[in-house]
């Protein structure tokens, strides 16, 4: 038995003093190899009898397990050391810049159209569209603006022929006509898009954007119009309270007509929409004129409703603090970078209309 104890001590001290994996491997074969010292002890077992044999076998097995465990733990130590060594030599300067990140952007006009669509979509509006080139009839005459009506002078129109029959639409209102002529009431649409007027200065560009709204059904009145616009403006500007003023105005295609102002104040040079005591005109609207409905073959004794037109560029300027309308169309990459939106920012009711 002493033999086993001595052997145990001998191997333990050898393992303790081993300083490399190779040495441990040597010790391992010295102990467990074919002619290893512990292997030799196992060979002795069959030569013994009874309790002696039993006790001896147990002791040799214990020795085997102990030495084995010591070897494994020593090998683990070496492995850890090796890994630590590798890790410390593998270090990089993590503060070095990585590959350049490039971001694409969505233009504010696109973003605001999506916001407007999400808001009106929730209260039952669908999106309708129409062509940029319109005929004179859809743009004016059908909208109760006959030739030589002074209201035509208020739209500086781009014409495509000398007879002034085809033109670039001066507003999105012809989409009303197209929508009503192509289907049957009720109608509940918005029509965002490009519009054109022959006007260019600090606050006007020859192209700009509008969103038209049209709601024709039974029993639709000015109260509904007020309600829808109040809802839209609160949602769009993300405020709970809004000061809104309806002022009588005139558009040939609505009667009664109104212009809508919203209250604002200037805080640190920024327009803050809400309850300030200054007024800002943001849209025109009214009850669709019976002549317009008649032009679209709609029975005015059953159906009536409202229409509105909002400047999209204006909305974008107000909400996102953009001062210069002309900058929208100049493709200055610095501007696009600054005012553009992340393509993943898709306006929706559950993730928010804007961030």
């Amino acid at each position: 038995m002493d033999e086993i104890l001595i052997l145990g001590k001998e191997f333990k001290s050898k393992i303790d003093s081993a300083d490399s994996t190779i040495k441990i491997e040597q010790i391992k074969s010295e102990a467990f190899g074919k002619k290893g010292k512990i292997s030799e002890l196992f060979k002795k077992v069959p030569t013994l009898q009874g309790d002696e044999r039993k006790n001896f076998a147990l002791s040799v097995n214990n020795l085997k397990d102990n030495i084995n465990n010591l070897i494994i733990s020593k090998l683990n130590q070496f492995e850890q050391k090796e890994i630590n060594k590798k890790l410390s030599s593998d270090k990089v300067d993590i503060t070095l810049p990585g590959r350049p990140i490039s971001f694409g952007k969505i233009h504010p006009i696109t973003q605001v159209i999506d916001e407007v669509t999400a808001i009106f979509g929730e209260i039952g509006f669908s999106v309708a569209e129409g062509p940029d080139v319109e005929n004179e009839y859809n743009n004016f005459t059908a909208l109760n603006t006959p030739p030589h009506h002074p209201a035509r002078d208020m739209h500086d129109t781009f014409y495509l022929d000398e007879n002034k029959e085809t033109l670039l639409r001066t507003h999105t209102s012809p989409v009303q006509i197209r929508t009503m002529l192509s289907s049957k009431p009720p109608f509940k649409i918005i029509a965002p898009g490009r519009t054109y007027r022959c006007d260019s200065d600090q606050t006007h560009t020859p192209m700009f954007h509008q969103v038209e709204g049209l709601h024709i059904d039974k029993n639709i009145n000015m109260g509904h119009l007020k309600g829808v616009l109040d809802y839209f403006i609160k949602k769009f500007f993300e405020v709970d309270k809004i000061k809104m003023r309806f002022r009588p105005s005139h558009f040939p295609f609505t009667e009664p007509s109104a212009e809508v102002d919203i209250g604002y104040e200037l805080k640190d040079g920024r327009v803050v929409i809400g309850e300030g005591n200054k007024w800002l005109e943001i849209l025109g609207c009214g009850m669709v004129h019976p002549n317009v409905l008649k032009n679209c073959k709609i029975n005015t004794s059953i159906y009536q409703g409202y229409a509105f037109g909002i400047g999209i560029d204006r909305l974008a300027m107000l909400k996102y603090g953009i001062n210069d309308l002309r900058s929208f169309f100049e493709t200055d990459v610095r501007w696009l970078e600054h005012f553009g939106f992340d393509p993943l920012d898709i306006p929706s009711n559950y993730r928010g209309y804007s961030r």
Binding site: P97, D114, E129, K164, T205, H224, G227, P248, H250, P290
Partner: protein, 797 residues
């Protein structure tokens, strides 16, 4: 339309304060655009030139040091020859607006010397028509430092009158609306006490279809045209009209007061027989604005036998105009066809006050009254004897009647109005009402040509009652699936997909420079805009690339060499409505990696651009195996480095084109930086049913059996395209060959010049079993054989 509070009071008895008046005007649809700043006159000061020296850098300019009183001095550069030491004149400081040209004074640097303001001439101050040099003031009448303009000129209230409200182009009309809104009482019209002591010697003949409905006139003999009295001059000045002479000022006064345009002729310069007729084509007319106009056959002319005296309702003639020496006058008050006026004025480009008013409608019943009133004023100011009044043409106004039910109000507005309130509002506005319970028979007053039907009456009622009384009805939330149709969803998806690949979205004008647009699409001449805003925006764009490259170049000039920009919008292929396509265009220039320690500089190449397209279409839901590239070119692309993307087969729908821009095009555009790449997606071509991922996705099948990879390199004729090779090889056994990758393409070396080496990696896997060596070997043989048979390709050894 400008008015003043005191002028308003000529027609309105009121205690309302000015801000109460302006807020009421806004509430009833007469939008107040501005209220003249009272202190604007304080920027014109009486000043004395202390010293006038020659400008160091200009012979004709002088450097004046002026005394502005209370110890203030200023330096002004002045070009007037009479600027001299000691002169008392008028100084306009920075911020002042010169009345004549509405020019705002700023501090400016004139030939190297800063000038703080301006010394003004009499005409610049609108106190004389013409003047020489700066104004010279009398030392005994003016004091240094005082305001030059006495500030008793009232602030003007500028109101934007909508085109339907011709009646409010009169001070009286505005007063009437205010009285209806409860801000005072409308005064009765002034009674005209005029003695007609002469017989009117003029004979007027109105031809049929002349464009003149009625013409009234009177003759005043022995007038002495003078400068208007102070009250009249101030009245006109207060609303920005320049006083001319008593006769002209009196007619202008009536025009503003009642919206009744009048015209005075020097009757010694015209014959007594006046014919009103249509113009003849190519007739010439010399107007009092000193322009000669070439007429068409649409104008309404006031003529003598051989001479045109005036363009009816638009502008008078020069030869018959009133001057200070005029002794006898013919005074005209007429009614012209608004459409004829609108047409001819637009054609000739004349924008007169009279035209503006006739276009928007004048009150028939004011025609004779306005004539009498003006005759009375002229007689009072200039003396003379007045003839009887003669009116030709339409004799009386045909009244319009509208049947109106109060239910209509409720139906349009949402809440109801009491009969009593409705009657009060309408009566105050001048409507006459016969009522039977809730149904009114309403007679429309002669000045309200804009009222035609029930809804017009509703507007009058709610306008005066106040839009704030409309009760808001909250919208209800609606759950509906079709906010956007499939096409609209597609467009919006594409925009964000492209942006997500690092492109900046832009929005550019739908028109562009025709010279640049023709580089992309020839024969776009018929897309010309007749009245373009400028020569470089003179045509509807037929290519999405025209503006993108113009702006790309601008950005290069801003020192941005690496750019990725795109636009989603229309291009046009014809001038008719609907001849437009919906496209996305994108352009890219420069480096993908630049001065990075990780990667070498990498310029964008054609395969980057191709990948953007593929990625976007795959994202859209079209499977990669259904996308085919054909090496073919648009003329504006490099013929060797461009292609088109097809759906389903190489003869399928063209979804997009892409390529490197042809250097010739870039040369025309004067862009020196190259290469530039672009792609265009033809949105209208994309079949919507191909984008339904849920439906188009193939069955979920994966194999858990071992997959093997095999590499082959072939020597093959140059002409064979990689895509063709791959599709051919895939078709050998598309159940086993999962994927083929090209990992090397090589030309040159020991390979003959008409051949190339192409190295392919095959992924081979069965869904049903582990393939044996034999099976793999068989497949490999087949690959080699197919390459030989189809392309005469040999394995590279």
């Amino acid at each position: 339309m400008k008015i003043t509070y005191s002028w308003l009071k000529d027609h309105l008895t009121t205690n309302a304060k000015i801000d109460e008046i302006t807020s009421t005007l806004n509430n009833i649809g007469l939008e107040v655009e501005s209220i003249g700043e009272e202190n604007k006159n304080s920027s014109f000061l009486v000043a004395k030139i202390i010293k006038a020296e020659k400008h160091p850098n200009a012979d004709k300019l002088k450097l004046c040091t002026v005394d502005l009183g209370s110890g203030k001095k200023s330096n002004v550069v002045c070009g007037a020859s009479n600027a001299r030491d000691g002169l008392l004149t008028v100084y306009a400081g920075p911020g002042a607006v010169i009345p004549k040209k509405q020019l705002k004074i700023k501090v400016t640097n004139i030939r190297g010397v800063d000038s703080y303001g301006m010394l003004c001439s009499a005409s610049e101050l609108s106190v004389a028509n013409e003047s020489d040099g700066i104004i010279e003031l009398d030392k005994n009448k003016f004091k240094i430092g005082e305001n030059y303009f006495t500030s008793n000129i009232e602030p003007a209230i500028d109101i934007a009158i909508t085109p339907n409200r011709g009646d409010c182009l009169a001070v009286r009309g505005i007063a009437r609306d205010l009285s209806a809104a409860g801000k005072g009482k409308l005064s009765p019209l002034k009674e005209v006490k005029l003695k007609h002591v002469l017989k009117n010697p003029f004979k007027i003949f109105i031809e049929k279809n002349s464009g003149c409905f009625a013409f009234s006139h009177c003759y005043i003999e022995g007038v002495k045209n003078v400068e208007s009295p102070k009250w009249l001059k101030e009245k006109l000045l207060s609303i920005g009209l320049k006083p001319i002479s008593a006769i002209v000022d009196a007619t202008n006064y009536i025009m503003i007061d009642l919206n009744r345009p009048l015209h005075a002729y020097d009757s010694d310069k015209i014959k007594k027989n006046i014919i009103i007729r249509s113009s003849k084509k190519n007739e010439k007319f010399h107007a009092l604005d000193q322009n000669t106009y070439l007429l068409n056959d649409e104008a309404c002319l006031i003529t003598n036998e051989n001479e045109i005296l005036g363009l009816g309702g638009v502008i008078g003639g020069d030869s018959s105009s009133v001057s200070m020496s005029t002794k006898n006058i013919l005074l005209e008050s007429a009614l012209f066809d608004p459409i004829r006026i609108s047409k001819i004025a637009k054609k000739l480009g004349i924008n007169s006050e009279a035209k503006f008013r006739f276009e928007r409608g004048v009150d028939f019943n004011d025609m004779v009254y306005g004539l009498k009133l003006s005759a009375e004023i002229i007689q009072k100011l200039c003396g003379g004897k007045v003839s009887n009044i003669v009116a030709e043409g339409q004799k009386s106004f045909i009244e319009k009647k509208i049947k109106f039910n109060l239910e209509k109000f409720k139906s349009i507005v949402g809440n109801s109005i009491a009969s009593k309130e409705a009657k009060k509002i309408l009566t105050n506005l001048g409507f006459k009402i016969k009522d039977n319970k809730d149904t009114f028979i309403i007679t429309v007053p002669s000045w309200r040509g804009d009222i035609h039907e029930e809804v017009d009456i509703v507007e009058e009622l709610i306008r005066i009652r106040g839009y704030d009384k409309i009760e808001l009805i909250n919208p209800t939330l609606v759950n509906h699936s079709q906010i956007l149709n499939e096409k609209q969803k597609l467009v919006r998806f594409l925009q964000r997909s492209i942006a997500n690949q690092g492109f900046m979205e832009t929005v550019t004008y739908s028109f562009t420079n025709s010279k640049i647009d023709t580089l992309f699409v020839e024969n776009n001449k018929n897309l010309n805009i007749i009245n373009p805003i400028s020569n470089d925006l003179n045509v509807l764009r037929s290519s999405i690339f025209s503006n993108l490259l113009i702006h790309l170049k601008n950005n290069i000039n801003r020192n941005f060499e690496d750019q990725k920009i795109f636009e989603c919008g229309p291009t046009f292929y014809g001038p008719k409505s609907g001849q437009q396509k919906s496209v996305i265009g994108a352009v890219q220039i420069g480096k993908i990696y630049k001065k990075s320690w990780l990667e070498k500089d990498k310029e964008v190449d054609i395969f980057d651009v191709k990948n953007y397209l593929l990625k976007t279409f795959i994202e859209l839901g079209i499977q990669e195996k259904n996308l085919f590239i054909r090496q073919e070119s648009e003329d504006y692309f490099h013929p060797g480095k461009s292609g088109k993307l097809y759906l389903n087969s190489k003869s399928g729908l063209i979804l997009a084109s892409f390529g490197e821009f042809n250097p010739k095009i870039l040369k025309e555009l004067d862009i020196k930086q190259m290469p530039i790449f672009g792609f265009e997606i033809y949105i209208d071509q994309i079949p919507l049913e191909n984008c339904k991922i849920r439906i188009n996705k193939s069955k979920y099948e994966v194999s858990n059996f071992q997959k093997v990879e095999r590499d082959f390199a072939f020597i093959i004729d140059q002409k064979f395209e990689a895509e063709k090779i791959i599709t051919t090889l895939l078709s050998i056994n598309n159940k086993l060959i999962k994927n083929i990758r090209v990992f090397d393409v090589f030309q040159g070396g020991n390979i003959s010049s008409d051949k190339k080496s192409i190295a392919l990696n095959f992924v081979i896997q069965s869904l049903t079993k582990t393939l044996t060596e034999k099976e793999i070997e068989e497949l490999s043989q087949k690959i080699v054989q197919t390459m030989k048979k189809t392309f005469d390709a040999t394995l590279r050894s």
